[in-house]
Symmetry: C2
Subunit: 112 residues, 2 copies
């Protein structure tokens, strides 16, 4: 799967607007989940796979390559870790955690 690079057309988007490239990258399966799980500490391949509820190794490996090429994660002695860029992105995603809890309430209240 082609890496979505800002400035070039990406999946579904000819414009290459950085935000669309980002949405493409983050929209791929487990991309945000990986960033989420790497936040706390470094994890090796199999640890990460477990944290991500047995994501298939093929998908995990593809996603890891993409996220590395996108400067969001890197490998350290201890395993995969967020880069500084990755951490700065994570800090923007983090509020979604709390938001999702309130959102979850609506499903109970509005019984959709």
């Amino acid at each position: 799967m082609k890496l979505p690079v800002p400035g070039s057309p990406v999946r579904g988007s000819q414009s290459g607007q950085p935000i669309m490239a980002l949405f493409d990258l983050l929209g791929r399966s487990w991309a945000m989940g990986i960033l989420w799980n790497l936040n706390e500490d470094a994890l090796n391949f199999r640890q990460l796979q477990q944290k991500c509820e047995s994501v298939s190794p093929g998908v995990l490996n593809t996603r890891l390559k993409e996220l590395r090429q996108a400067f969001l994660i890197t490998r350290s002695e201890d395993g995969y870790v967020l880069t500084e860029t990755g951490r700065s992105l994570f800090s923007l995603l983090q509020p979604l955690g709390k938001w999702s809890l309130e959102w979850a309430q609506q499903f109970k209240t509005d019984h959709a």
Copy 2:
């Protein structure tokens, strides 16, 4: 496609953690793009389709249904609009716009 509901297992996630349900929902093609484009003003189906660079009507329709069921958008006289919940989510996504511009710089600098 099954709507990811917090509290129930979702695509790739057995846990049903709200954040994982949210990642599933937002990770589907054009989901974030639709929220992004509906921010400014109400758009009808074909306008939205154009804004989303000719996303196919099938995908657009599927996504609109899901986002409606997830309380994020609704239909008004003027077309599709964000709900209050949708706007609160958008406010969290909004910073990604600026972030993505800085991120785009890295691709130039680091020539990846």
